[in-house]
Symmetry: C2
Subunit: 147 residues, 2 copies
């Protein structure tokens, strides 16, 4: 998965499309992969790891009591610095289910070319594997759909 | 290294000491490891991936023309939301050397219990390995020195 993620990051960097990210459940993994390769600063300058409700409000001004909802993902993506592609990812990777958030369900909102795209995916593994897969899914979606 | 990082993250989570991070060269990897385990939101709520000079200024108000300096690391750590431990990490992981930043030299500033500690470490591998080692070094230092 690591080498696949590097391939996706390379494709994004060579596209020269700039990206900003707000990460809740992925906790910084999308940013970490996007900045692995030399030259990544040409497309990526900042990532917001908004792990808690408080962080979403303080860092991006998104006040929500539904932190894993599609509305929250959209609000976070809209609050990001303007780049070619703005991405926000929220969800619950497990192991427990919480109110309003099914275990393993991840929602990402992509804003590109003035269009917004909200996607939801369900991951059925343990928390660590769900984390890796959800961060990879974000990179893969950028690479396939928005370059 | 992944399983070692998880052990360190577990130790930090079980200490109940809260942490905030500003990451330049590690690009979100410290935050990603700190949020891997269940219960991580008890100690971690936000991470600032301030990858470029512009991001350092915009996200944390740190205006610098020496982005890899110890002064910059200290300013970033001071600008973070107040937690038990505030950490900033800057440096150049390679492959190229840049003005004022030797290749593989990483500087981290830790503020804990109202004391500040600046540490520098030199990594001699390729960029990807340097990245992993530098993020692990940050977790290891928190775990050994500030819990």
């Amino acid at each position: 998965m690591y080498s696949l993620a590097i391939k996706k990051a390379k494709r994004i960097i060579t596209s020269h499309r700039t990206v900003s990210v707000a990460e809740s459940c992925t906790g910084g993994q999308v940013a970490a992969w996007l900045t692995l390769l030399p030259g990544s600063s040409k497309v990526f300058d900042s990532g917001y790891v908004v792990y808690t409700v408080d962080a979403k409000k303080r860092m991006l001004g998104v006040d929500t009591n539904e932190p894993t909802s599609a509305d929250t993902a959209l609000s976070l993506a809209r609050a990001l610095p303007k780049k070619d592609i703005m991405v926000a990812v929220v969800g619950n990777l497990g192991p427990s289910s919480e109110a309003g958030s099914g275990r393993g369900i991840v929602t990402a909102c992509f804003i590109a070319d003035e269009s917004k795209h909200t996607m939801r995916k369900s991951f059925r593994h343990g928390r660590l594997r769900n984390r890796t897969l959800s961060a990879y899914w974000v990179l893969d979606t950028i690479s396939r759909s928005f370059l």
